[in-house]
């Protein structure tokens, strides 16, 4: 829940991007609240401050709706990590990442790291139906397939390899393989003009998760947090070097702070 930490200045920013209904809010919610609950479509964006060791990491949950698409590059500005999220049962959601969302990340830091996350793995992968940690999700697991309210129909689309079974709504087929995601990762590196050898390997940066069961969720966030630490240190170092006095630090004084006095 929002708490005092809201008032603290974040050291680094992580942004969740992806088409609507892929489960960005649920992923964040699973990680921060340790549970899965019904979420409504995110309006605009929301953010959460995570204390990671001595650092504050702000995690921005963006709105996937087309309507808010224009805000994306603002959210991405200065981001140290971007989590590109798709739905493993929906091929379209993966291709949207490349077509629509990748360009939003142009405003991110030049050393920004990218993770590609296929959510809803519990629908297709038996091992994702059990949470890796011992948290009790028993009530969640009883009806994994049935009570899923996600409108598959909406996002299902005829792009290859489209599957007619997803319309039946019984057992959605896995439409995106991990290899597809890894291939996308490679294309992202090329888009960014990064050398594949000196970048983080696709194998490490592609995840399949389930916000519903908690599968791989902690691993995703914690891997990213560990990877952005150097970025924080560099940022702190730069701040330290700069001759500017951080006026935000001396709180309590008025909001109008001028360098010259009159």
């Amino acid at each position: 829940m929002p708490d005092v930490s809201k008032m603290k200045k974040p050291d680094v920013k992580v942004v969740l991007l992806g088409d609507m209904h892929v489960g960005k809010t649920s992923l964040l919610h699973r990680y921060t609240e340790r549970k899965f609950k019904d979420t409504t479509s995110t309006v605009g964006g929301a953010f959460f401050l995570k204390q990671w060791g001595p650092y504050n990491i702000s995690i921005w949950d963006t709105a996937g709706r087309e309507q808010f698409h224009g805000l994306g590059s603002m959210y991405c500005r200065g981001a140290a990590a971007v989590i590109l999220t798709y739905d493993v049962t929906n091929w379209q959601s993966l291709s949207e990442l490349e077509e629509r969302f990748l360009s939003l990340t142009d405003t991110a830091n030049h050393d920004c790291i990218y993770a590609i996350v296929g959510n809803k793995a519990d629908l297709t992968d038996p091992k994702a139906q059990l949470s890796p940690n011992s948290d009790s999700f028993s009530e969640d697991q009883t009806d994994i397939v049935e009570d899923r309210t996600e409108p598959q129909v909406l996002s299902a689309c005829p792009t290859p390899p489209a599957s007619p079974t997803s319309l039946s709504g019984v057992v959605p087929r896995k439409q995106v393989s991990r290899e597809d995601a890894m291939a996308l990762y490679g294309r992202i590196l090329r888009y960014k003009g990064l050398d594949e050898k000196s970048s983080l390997p696709a194998d490490k940066m592609c995840f399949e998760t389930s916000a519903k069961t908690g599968y791989n969720v902690d691993a995703l966030f914690e891997t990213l947090f560990d990877l952005v630490l150097p970025s924080i240190l560099r940022k702190r170092h730069e701040n330290h070097e700069s001759p500017t006095v951080d006026l935000e630090d001396c709180r309590g004084s008025g909001k109008r702070v001028r360098s010259s006095c009159c």
Partner: protein, 870 residues
């Protein structure tokens, strides 16, 4: 969801502005202190004085007094008004022209250069509230010129305006805001940040300003609030980064303002209020024909087309109380902490604490103890507020009254738990752990008694182990309350501790002895009697010691006497000296014995009186056991061993006195022998041992004991005495052989102490050599050994002597001349032989003369003796 954060209060009613003229509408407003300026579509500026009136109920209202209205003469609506109070000017935008009017007279200001101060072709303007230029008598203003795609920066002085900068924009701007060097602009298709100093720009996000009216609102230093697609209120700072999550408005928002921590937005029918802290919608007010919403120095003012209203924020405290009243603790705390900088520091602290406390109680009511504890601690709760929830825990003497207004809604714990005993128990456990933690901190300053007493009551009731720790350490339990409580729960041992802590040892002992006596039941300590004895050992009140010593000795004299034995040595010697104790213990033999043993054996007090007394007590015990024919042999043996050991080891008791006591007792011969030994009447002792007891090993042991620490001659004498006892006297029929065997044994065993020659003289002729072989062997060997040793000694002495002589001669280095002509100094005859003796001084004399002289000297006898000896 809903919080009442604001109240809409009318400020200027319709009749004051335009009366019933239907066509006249409000176009813009400006408020500066109490001065309210309203611009209308008929080119008038109305000037009001706006006074706050607080009703006795605390409700705020406004009274507006019309000061002036002024027609600007342009027949066009007054589009914007801005006050520059330092310059006493109003900046007016009307008919595409910006010009200055006097704030008081509303007269147009003539330019210093003559004519009016005017800027033409203006679409919109804004004033920099955070100018980089620090000159207080000049206002920085940015205008959107009808000249395409430019923004102009002007400095406004009292009587002139000066263009300082002109920057071009990629598209036509339609709304703007300014902070420092940063222009925040709404262009036709997007928002952007533009640094007019460096020309650097930063695109924010796309927005179709033809579809919806853009909003660009500076909300704080380098931070702007913008209307975004989808009815969002987006925050963006000068770097183009959003640091707060957006709020969700309706699509038709007209205007927005910030009144921290809220974002207020106006649409056609409603005023919506979102919190910037959690982005949630907090309040909705219905407002028809809304037209203008602006904040002026923290005051949010709205206008419909016909009237002006003020949106008065409710005191934060009230809002927070409301949240707490509906148990929205988290929200209340967030609001409090979020609004910290809007509340004076001292007031904030008081309020913050109170909210934390209330939050704590709410969580406490939900049995969320960990959270409650955190809040109580952070809120520095007066612990008694919590204690007072538990019936009868606070001492009757406590002056505590609950805080008003109440911090919670519970009458007491029973009310809270609704009769659920499990809940009550959990609450009690929580209080125990909480009090335990805080009692050592400064939180309890001033109410230590209340806290400790409450804790004691809880411990007693819950049968908690820490009760004793509490009472045994520093505490402030109130006696009047604690005593009945401890009695109620049968914690009598603890009660005693409490009395003791309060200096009432007498009462403590009274309670404890009653427990030991079985009058009261308390199983806290099974060894309570021992505890009392220990307690009396250390008790400084001697009256009490004497009083309870009787009781203790009666209960168990062996343990009871420890009251005296274990007493640490202190200054009260005179009060509790051993004589007095011995007299006191007189009747109680067992205790007396232990006490004397303690004095004599442990403390080694060298006093004849104690030693004799102890010896007599030992003796009496032996005698009493002897007289009791039914008694076992075991205790008697032990008692005798003790007696014998003591008789042997102590040298202080009165031997004659004891001897007198056992003289006629035929059973204590060994003891008699020992006593005789003490008196050095060894013959009597040995006689008893050899002839009466016929206990030969004891006789030998006696010789060894009696001669221990003496010279060998003494021991030899004793052994010879023993031998005489064995051999002397008329050989009895039958028994004679036994004595002789004893004699042989002692000779063979202790041969080394005897003088062999003397022994051989007294031995009967008839004894075979074989019988005495070990003795003789040893004797001869000893004799040989002695001889050899002496020879070696002589040799060594001789060599030492020669050595010394040599040294001496060397030392003197003076030849002694002996010739036939020289005479001996002793006999005055001449020397005939070279052998001479030198007297001290190097005088040569005859050898025989010296020998003669030594014979005559007084040391003669000594010399002969010693020569014999070697």
């Amino acid at each position: 969801m809903s919080v009442k954060a604001f109240e809409l209060v009318p400020a200027v009613e319709r009749d004051l502005l335009m009366g019933d003229k239907a066509r006249i509408n409000i176009e813009c407003i400006e408020c500066c202190g109490k001065h309210l300026y309203v611009g209308t579509n008929d080119c008038f500026i109305h000037h009001f004085l706006l006074d706050e009136v607080a009703s006795p109920m605390g409700k705020l209202s406004y009274s507006a007094q019309k000061l002036l209205n002024k027609y600007l003469g342009l027949k066009k609506p007054v589009a914007e008004l801005r006050a520059a109070s330092a310059l006493e000017r109003l900046i007016v935008l009307c008919d595409g022209m910006v010009f200055l009017v006097d704030m008081v007279t509303l007269e147009s200001v003539p330019s210093a250069a003559g004519g009016g101060v005017k800027i033409r072709g203006v679409i919109a303007f804004c004033v920099n509230e955070n100018p980089v230029n620090g000159d207080p008598f000049c206002v920085e203003m940015a205008i959107l010129s009808s000249k395409r795609r430019t923004v102009q920066i002007y400095m406004v002085h009292k009587d002139r305006v000066q263009l300082v900068k002109e920057v071009s924009t990629p598209e036509q701007p339609c709304a703007l805001s300014l902070d420092g060097y940063f222009l925040c602009l709404a262009l036709t298709t997007q928002y952007m940040i533009l640094n007019y100093n460096t020309g650097a720009s930063q695109d924010l996000f796309p927005y179709n300003s033809e579809e919806r009216r853009p909003i660009v609102k500076r909300i704080s230093r380098e931070e702007f609030l913008l209307a975004a697609p989808g009815g969002l209120g987006m925050f963006a700072n000068a770097e183009g980064v959003s640091q707060r999550a957006p709020v969700s408005w309706s699509e038709s928002v007209i205007a927005a303002a910030v009144s921290f921590p809220y974002v207020v937005a106006l649409d056609e029918n409603f005023i919506t209020i979102h919190s910037m802290l959690d982005q949630q919608l907090k309040q909705t007010l219905s407002f028809r024909d809304g037209h203008i919403l602006q904040d002026f120095e923290g005051k949010v003012i709205l206008a419909s087309t016909k009237a002006v209203y003020v949106l008065v924020p409710l005191p934060l405290e009230r809002q927070i109380q409301d949240l707490l009243a509906s148990h929205r603790v988290e929200e209340a705390l967030m609001l409090m902490e979020g609004a910290q900088r809007n509340i004076p520091k001292d007031k904030f602290q008081v309020l913050h604490r109170r909210i934390l406390q209330r939050a704590g109680f709410i969580q406490f009511g939900k049995l969320q103890f960990q959270e409650a504890k955190d809040h109580f601690r952070k809120g520095e709760l007066d612990v008694r507020e919590l204690i007072s929830l538990y019936p009868l825990l606070l001492p009757a003497s406590s002056s505590f009254t609950r805080f008003h207004p109440p911090l919670h809604e519970f009458a007491d714990l029973n009310h809270l738990a609704q009769g659920d005993q499990e809940k009550v128990l959990q609450c009690k456990r929580f209080l125990i752990s909480y009090l335990k933690e805080v009692r050592s901190t400064e939180v309890v300053n001033g109410c230590r008694e209340d806290v400790d007493t409450a804790l004691l009551k809880l411990y007693a009731e819950q049968d908690h182990d820490s009760l004793l720790d509490l009472l045994a350490s520093e505490n402030a339990c109130v006696l009047a309350d604690s005593v009945p409580c401890l009695e109620k729960y049968h914690k009598y041992f603890a009660l005693g501790l409490l009395y003791h802590y309060n200096g009432q040892d007498s009462a403590a002992l009274q309670v404890w002895t009653r427990v030991v006596n079985g009058d009261l039941q308390d199983s806290t300590r099974s060894d309570l009697f021992d505890y009392i004895v220990d307690f009396l050992c250390c008790c400084s009140n001697l009256d009490l010691v004497w009083k309870y010593a009787d009781w203790a000795l009666q209960k168990d004299s062996t343990k009871g006497v420890h009251i005296f034995i274990r007493r640490p040595l202190s200054t009260d010697q005179s009060e509790l000296n051993p004589d007095k104790v011995i007299t006191y213990l007189g009747k109680n033999k067992q205790a007396l014995l232990l006490y004397l043993e303690h004095l004599v054996l442990e403390k080694k007090i060298q006093k004849e009186k104690f030693h004799t007394h102890l010896a007599v007590l030992y003796l009496e015990r032996v005698l009493s056991l002897l007289s009791d024919s039914s008694a076992d042999a075991e205790p008697l043996t032990k008692a005798r061993e003790r007696l014998q050991a003591f008789l042997r080891e102590s040298n202080l008791y009165r031997v004659q006195f004891l001897l007198g006591k056992i003289e006629d007792c035929e059973q204590l011969l060994l003891e008699r022998a020992t006593l005789h030994g003490k008196l050095e009447e060894h013959d009597k002792a040995l006689h008893i041992l050899v002839h009466k007891l016929r206990d030969f090993p004891s006789a030998e042991a006696f010789c060894v004991w009696a001669s221990s620490g003496r010279d060998p001659a003494y021991r030899q004498r004793l052994f010879h005495l023993l031998l005489e006892e064995y051999l002397g006297g008329e050989p009895r029929v039958g028994g004679g052989g036994e004595l002789e065997m004893a004699a042989v044994d002692v000779l063979n065993r202790h041969g080394e102490v005897f003088d062999a020659v003397r022994v051989l003289r007294v031995l009967p002729e008839s004894w075979s050599l074989q019988l005495l072989r070990p003795f003789l062997n040893r004797a001869i060997r000893a004799s040989m050994h002695a001889r050899h040793t002496s020879q070696i000694a002589v040799g060594l002495a001789h060599s030492e002597n020669v050595q010394l002589l040599h040294d001496r001669l060397k030392e003197r280095k003076k030849p002694i001349f002996v010739s036939e002509k020289k005479g001996c100094h002793l006999c005055h005859n001449t020397f005939k032989e070279p052998d001479v003796v030198c007297l001290p001084g190097g005088v040569p004399v005859h050898t025989h003369c010296v020998a003669q002289r030594i014979k005559d000297s007084p040391t003669k006898r000594h010399l002969t003796n010693s020569s014999n000896h070697t």
